[in-house]
Symmetry: D2
Subunit: 289 residues, 4 copies
């Protein structure tokens, strides 16, 4: 583990950079000031990037648009890998017709539709269609009535022996400087405990997320894991996931892990990044090439 | 482990019978037909009973009244031990003034009020009173907006280092023949995982429930654990809890544990009741004394 | 939570003091220097004490003798409550004859013998006696061959549906300034996961430990929980256990919880002692009465 | 989920078959009688196979040799994917020199050596080399003194902030018709709980195992997940792992899952194989081509 002053030197060492989104590129109050320079430098150096995120609430196109609106025009939808895409791939390969019930917004149902399957919000499951429900997906924490639909989901899973897929493994996400909201991964965990069945989870730290991005790259160029670095703010997802997949990793201190806590948390968890760096933002001088 | 045909012979062997409520005395569709004979026989034999329940949604008086309305007039509020009473005792001993925030119905807040403390539904916590909140209690799964108030509870516990008490350890409860509802214990478990703090739980299988009943008895008569039997339908709460406290136990097959599953579940869990009996109901002939 | 400079003022506030042993009265290198003054002051003030410990490796008489050898002559065997005694009570009430198999030293088997039952070290379980084994007790981490006897225990529990009792819930204990050893509670936890059965655990933080001491006192004098304080060095056992039982609690910083970590750990765990005090040792001036 | 009478029809549907080893090809008493016909038929049909196993106790070459000795000459070392190989890849990518400490036999250390790193059995860790230990690997449950070396491992991980890799995620494995032995994955789990750090696990059900085999295939031929089927006897590893990776799956009833329990376990766990088949053995008539 080495402390690195300047994120530029990280970029210089690798050919491809994987970024976590929240806490690395943006926070609850918007983009990290100056983060566009990082992308400008990447482009200038002919380096590639991917954004690897557990956010399955919107499609990559919608996620990219939200970066554009915030002023980060470099972000391309094709460079966003969300756990929603793994969910889509699973559904394509493993579910043959029928309905896919889901908890989440209509937008999040995009990943189900794009797998060519019929969507059914949990609130609309009833005795006329329950036998045609062939999978359940936990997409997002919004878009449904918690009391009514969470209880309904428990009973759906007690009655039907179908795969339950969690498209976002996070338990909570920040909504302001001091507040968090429970993520769909936390709700799914509660339901899994109650029904006693085994759910399928997609998202960091699971290797399948990294593999998905890695495979995309290999489709158009040869690459070795040694040429890729994963940048994240969370030891338990970004760093251990990147490590296990065999990537070098950078812990940035702009999100979940506070500067004063970093060393303690690394020691306590035994999750060791290759580098620690204040943030992924480059100084203005970095672009004086 | 012995199979017993007739619950009468259980009563004959002990001086005091502890009953679980749900699945033993009543189900979602009302009282077990004939259960009043069990209480009539107990009275005729000069035996005592206690109902030991994880239901903290209402006061013992309200719980007793609900039995009376269903037609079981023998049940006395003084013989109902609910996990709510342990919560009340905890609050009396350990919380000095201020507010006690809670999730649950107004009725469930009875246990807080009766400890002489000021109640505050989580929905009413705000910046003017948050610093005066000295404990949080999970009372019941109804009486609040799940989305709004569960998230608010997470943030309350992140901001204030206060005890969080779970007045009902159950994860779910049946609402009809085929359906269940998530209990407040399941919600509390999710929040505990998310905030990473350690909650205080009251309810079976924890020994403190049995001790509370045992102490009540010792206040007016000498008693040994050998004279008491615990009757329940759930291995993981009633039976292991009773066993650990040192009581003989009876598994009845009128609730959670189906007749065809009983042996398998006992073997799989290693939780062995002293007796297995179809139900706690006595045949009409039992009263021909 | 209040910081208290002088442990004397704690004693002055209560009638009975419960002490944890390790980290409070002694460490791996012997008695805390000066701790005898605490006991002298207690005696002088007519206050009572109990030592409430998860150490089931030896009988209370042997534990008391070990204090005497170290120079603390005040400690009386009758004032030591070990989790071994709860195990003994359980066996007396719940096991009718046959053998009780155990992992531990011969000394630790004392608790089984004193329940009037026949002991059988796991290494001696064979096809001639396995059907007479009516309980298994995890007593201590020494006195057996780990590889051979831990595997044998797994298979015993797969073949026999009997209660498995853990007489010490701790996962590890310190053996020197920098080293720990795995305690029998850690081994039991591994076996419980592997066999998938539910074990019965005795020891702090479980209420039954505190109840046992409380009941002993009530046999000879009236007492309220308000008159007792629990003193310990570990938030997850001594403090949360004492709190839940309704006692005031003192966290001392002479053992598991380092002075620089105390506030952070309290905040992270949400386990709040009534008081924090450097140690349970009194200054020499305390005895100038 | 479909019941299939004849494993031949499974082979006919796919191009590549992934087999679990234990409970599918062999049991504690040797090869499944007739299993060589399955491999003969695969060869005759020009179909490929891979053996995907959590057994990291020996190298693929040694594993292949053990099949040859048992009489199954078709098995090629290049077609065996063990969790040891993922461990080797991790070490190559992520550990730069120094020692790799390990628990296991000398044979299991093969995977560390083949990553070009210096091996150090935990028993030989001492103050002269502890600072050069850069990773710890849990390889196998044999080859070391449990009491001495498991405790030593706990203290090594308390002193050094290094990655801990578990090369076999299983908790136990069968050693005879009625007995099991604790696997290194069970021991690792106990140590992880005690030291509170996060270990890196390789082995089914983790996707990285399947990905490793999939990547091997893609190096020499184009393939889609639809052309591969995973055959296993364990829902919690083979089937859920295969499902999650997007493969069709076959549950065979020759190992962990007994014929009479299959439906119940599928319903209880919610882990649904594509097919259920008595075993992977073909009848003699299958070869009359």
């Amino acid at each position: 583990m080495k402390r690195i002053e300047d994120f530029k030197s990280i970029i210089d060492r690798y050919d491809i950079v994987f970024f976590d989104a929240f806490g690395v590129l943006k926070t609850h109050s918007g983009l990290l000031p100056g983060i566009e320079r990082t992308f400008e430098y990447l482009a200038a150096q002919g380096k590639e990037y991917y954004i690897v995120t557990n956010d399955a609430s919107r499609s990559p196109a919608q996620l990219a648009e939200s970066y554009h609106k915030k002023g980060l025009h470099f972000v391309d939808a094709n460079r966003i890998i969300s756990s929603g895409q793994l969910t889509k791939e699973y559904l394509e390969l493993k579910v043959d017709g029928g309905y896919v019930a889901y908890l989440g917004t209509d937008e999040s149902a995009h990943y189900i539709e794009s797998a060519g399957l019929k969507t059914l919000p949990v609130r609309d499951v009833d005795h006329t269609n329950i036998d045609k429900v062939n999978a359940l997906v936990f997409m997002d924490d919004e878009g449904f009535d918690w009391f009514h639909d969470i209880n309904k989901t428990v009973n759906l899973l007690r009655k039907r022996t179908i795969p339950a897929i969690v498209a976002n493994t996070d338990y909570a996400y920040p909504t302001s400087k001091h507040d968090v909201s429970i993520a769909i991964g936390g709700i799914a965990q509660m339901i899994e405990t109650i029904v006693g069945k085994k759910f399928i989870r997609f998202g960091k730290p699971d290797s399948q997320m990294f593999m998905f991005a890695y495979d995309l790259i290999r489709d158009y160029r040869p690459i070795s894991k040694k040429q890729i670095v994963m940048v994240g703010d969370t030891l338990q997802t970004d760093i251990i996931g990147g490590n296990k997949f065999g990537l070098d990793t950078v812990l940035v201190l702009s999100g979940n892990t506070l500067p004063q806590d970093a060393e303690n948390r690394i020691q306590a968890t035994g999750i060791v990044p290759t580098y620690i760096c204040e943030s992924a933002v480059l100084g203005p001088e970095a672009l004086n090439l």
